[in-house]
């Protein structure tokens, strides 16, 4: 074992001093930043879509759409204010002193009451001037760019039906072009085939505005029907907003409500399973090229004159596993450091979430699954490397193996729908996938018998596969022949 550990130490140092390792390590925070910032940046760079409505019904629907645009602006502004308040206002004190104002910042925009209060308080500027004594910083509030702008239809409203298409085209492609024109025909609400409006645009790829207009028209129709059939009832009576709170008898809080920590504990294994795949992809190349280099430069002969093939392969596996675990630890540390620098307010939450994940009873099991998964796949790649004499040889074997490794990703939607369903259960019993799927399913409380059985299967698979791949490794690592046929491969797995 001493020799295996010496090999592991050397392999570990080789991995962590590789340029590729450092780059992969640094790429992770870059991905996080790209994933978090780029969508917001794209949204901020999307220009306000200017449109008009030609309403042949008398203008009620055009008015309703214009009102929806105004509401949309206010919702966006309130949401931006809420985000601004997290870092720039002393919220605990505000909640204590001015609870009526604080509730506007704290509540959801989906609640019509919130929006009414927001409007009544003078919008973001009015609320911020009232909350001036609670400002922590001098940062300036920047209201978001409106998504849509409603323009008057102008000459389009009276355009002749036969020349309407040409008139619309002129407005969509002129010097100050509109993004879209909505046409609401006469008798829109009474049409026998159901209400149908026209959406004219030369940007068919972006459905945002079309969906927005459809929702606004549907809402206006609902209001009109309500006014017709129940004129005494206030229009918003039948527009209740249902708030859903999630509970779980196993949740950590005393009232069983699912907290952020509970959600983190539920999704952390899925994230870990994804990271398992990521580290496998990261290490596969290094494992393969390492063995091929050792073969081609005859280092492998020197190594095997010092250690047994089993010690050599065990050392390599342990080195790769240690490097992968270090990767995870460093990524977590980077996230924490990033949070400490850029989101100091969120650091305690983030640290708490990590603590809640690590302190859960699932953690040792997750770690076991992760290590077993890593050892299973790493031993397969080592065996492939031992059979290849060049990277080109290895590529021919790596292709099918990668498909094997990626199969869990294809099954992800089925698993998310029903983590303890038939598909998930069957997949959990396929030995090479057991670590991945068990890791994924653990938070959904699979039957105890299944957990115990799958754990035994997983450990046994790891041991058997490492031994078998060790045999393949020992039998092929000294040969300079091309990769063997499948039958020869099976024979070498069975040969001692």
């Amino acid at each position: 074992m001493r020799r295996a550990l010496l090999v592991a130490r050397s392999e570990f140092l080789k991995y962590v001093t590789r340029r590729g390792f450092i780059i992969s390590l640094l790429m992770f925070p870059v991905w996080v930043v790209i994933g978090g910032v780029v969508p917001q940046w794209i949204e901020s760079k999307t220009p306000t879509r200017n449109f008009t409505v030609v309403d042949k019904t008398g203008g009620r629907f055009a008015f309703a759409i214009a009102k929806a645009v105004r509401d949309d602006d206010e919702i966006a502004e309130r949401d931006a204010l809420s985000a601004f308040a997290q870092s720039n206002l002393d919220l605990p004190r505000l909640r204590e002193r001015l609870p009526q104002l604080a509730v506007i910042v704290d509540s959801s925009s989906e609640d019509p009451e919130t929006l009414a209060r927001f409007r009544k308080s003078g919008g973001a500027n009015g609320i911020l001037s009232l909350a001036a004594p609670f400002r922590k910083t001098d940062a300036r509030f920047q209201p978001p760019r409106p998504r849509f702008h409603f323009s008057p239809p102008g000459a389009l409203q009276g355009a002749d039906e036969s020349r309407f298409a040409q008139a619309v085209n002129d407005r969509l492609s002129g010097s100050d072009p509109l993004y879209a024109v909505v046409f609401i025909p006469k008798g829109f609400s009474n049409a026998k085939s159901g209400p149908e409006a026209e959406f004219w645009s030369i940007n068919a790829s972006d459905p945002d505005l079309e969906h927005f207009v459809r929702r606004a028209l549907t809402e206006e129709l609902r209001r009109q029907l309500l006014a017709k059939f129940a004129p005494d009832v206030p229009p918003d009576t039948f527009k209740p907003t249902v708030a859903m709170r999630a509970y779980d008898p196993a949740a950590s809080g005393g009232d069983h409500e699912i907290s952020l920590a509970d959600q983190a504990r539920t999704y952390a294994p899925a994230v870990l399973a994804f990271l398992l795949l990521l580290t496998i992809f990261m290490n596969a190349g290094a494992l393969l090229s390492g063995v091929i280099e050792e073969k081609s430069s005859r280092i492998v002969e020197v190594m095997l004159s010092c250690v047994t093939p089993v010690e050599f392969m065990t050392g390599k596996l342990l080195g790769a596993a240690a490097a992968s675990l270090l990767t995870l630890i460093l990524w977590a540390a980077m996230l924490l450091a990033g949070a400490a620098i850029f989101l100091p307010g969120a650091l305690s939450n983030f640290g708490g979430l990590l603590t809640s994940i690590v302190s859960t009873g699932l953690f040792p099991m997750l770690l076991l699954c992760f290590v077993c998964g890593l050892l299973i796949y790493a031993s397969i790649f080592l065996a492939i490397g031992s059979m290849a004499t060049s990277i080109q040889d290895a590529q021919a074997l790596v292709g099918p193996t990668m498909i094997l490794v990626m199969a869990p990703l294809i099954m992800m939607p089925a698993l998310l729908r029903d983590p303890n369903g038939a598909i998930a259960t069957v997949l959990s019993w396929i030995p090479v996938y057991t670590p991945f799927f068990m890791m994924f399913r653990l938070p959904w409380n699979p039957p105890l018998l299944e957990v115990v059985g799958a754990t035994i299967l997983m450990i046994a698979t790891t041991i058997v596969l490492v031994i078998q791949m060790g045999r393949v490794f020992a039998n092929h690592v000294l040969t300079a022949e091309r990769p063997p046929r499948l039958s020869a491969l099976v024979r070498s797995m069975l040969r001692r």
Partner: protein
């Protein structure tokens, strides 16, 4: 097939013993019924053309491969159990390119059983001894081929092995480095180390080895001392004369007389083992032959090798 055993009198205790060893790869027999014994503190030259089975035999001696038949004993034990007492230098250096010279030496020494501190101490001391102290912290990829070969040699020796197996240790070395390697190998043998090295360079084998084994097509075709190898081929005399020297064929110690080949000025006379060349001179004077040239030479190891390996190649055809 002619095979000879070491006949040099007292045999020191055997460091390497191979008895009827065979190794096959599918239908191909790489080593066939190979037996040899090599004593401690001696240098064994392992010679043979490409594909003769040298590398396979070395790998079996190192415990990297198991023989299909026969037994191997290194220092009286099976190869896998004496790894720490054996040092191995492959032809292509066998070093991790991105490791530093001192680290790679210490790493292999630790794998061979030394503790970390001793391994590093030994690595630095040996780098100093071989004149590479200033390159201790340089990566292998930054060293010249000769320096890297020296580092590989040091890595082979750092754990103070009893048996050294060197596969083409001189390849890629300049004459000065080659000389220093030869001196080091001789010094190791004087210290009682058992050395086996495979080579294609016959001159080195002649200079260094006191025991030679020649393999051809997986079989041993010679096993003996350099003197015994020389005796495998007749001594030859070359005589320059205008007269017909065919009469020399009647002398007792002469095997054959060949007239000058086209473009060659000399007659070629093959002598029997132990025959003295002076009888040739006496016979020529007696016949009043005017001589322009006379020399008497031992066959070189190269001649022996070509003769033995060539004979095998011809037999194969």
């Amino acid at each position: 097939m002619e095979s000879r055993t070491l006949a040099s009198g007292i045999m020191p205790s055997a460091a390497l013993e191979l008895s009827h060893v065979s190794k096959r790869f599918g239908d191909f027999t790489a080593v066939r019924d190979l037996s040899l014994t090599h004593g401690e503190g001696r240098i064994l030259g392992f010679l043979g053309p490409n594909g003769a089975g040298k590398t396979t035999t070395l790998r079996m001696m190192l415990g990297l491969m198991k023989p299909d038949g026969g037994t191997l004993r290194i220092l009286g034990k099976s190869p896998g159990t004496v790894r720490d007492r054996v040092g191995y230098l492959p032809e292509e250096r066998g070093l991790y390119k991105r490791m530093r010279a001192d680290s790679v030496i210490a790493y292999f020494a630790q794998l061979k059983g030394l503790d970390r501190a001793t391994a590093h101490k030994r690595a630095h001391a040996m780098l100093e001894r071989f004149g590479l102290a200033q390159f201790a912290r340089v990566r292998i990829e930054g060293l010249s081929k000769g320096m890297a070969q020296k580092v590989a040699f040091i890595a082979t020796l750092a754990h103070d092995p009893d048996v050294l197996i060197l596969d083409e240790p001189f390849s890629g070395l300049d004459p000065l480095n080659r000389q220093s390697f030869e001196d080091a190998i001789r010094a190791l043998a004087r210290d009682g180390k058992t050395i086996l090295f495979s080579t294609h360079t016959m001159e080195q084998a002649e200079r260094l080895c006191d025991h030679l084994v020649i393999l051809a097509r997986g079989e041993k075709v010679f096993d003996g001392t350099l003197a015994e190898a020389h005796r495998l081929l007749p001594r030859r005399a070359r005589i320059g004369a205008k007269a017909d020297l065919g009469f020399l064929g009647n002398l007792q110690g002469v095997t054959s007389v060949s007239p000058p080949a086209s473009g060659q000025p000399y007659w070629d006379i093959a002598l029997k083992e132990g025959a003295d060349g002076s009888s040739l001179l006496a016979a020529c004077f007696e016949q009043r032959v005017e001589l322009s040239h006379f020399d008497l030479s031992e066959p070189s190891l190269q001649d022996v090798f070509v003769s033995l390996a060539g004979r095998e190649a011809e037999a194969a055809q």
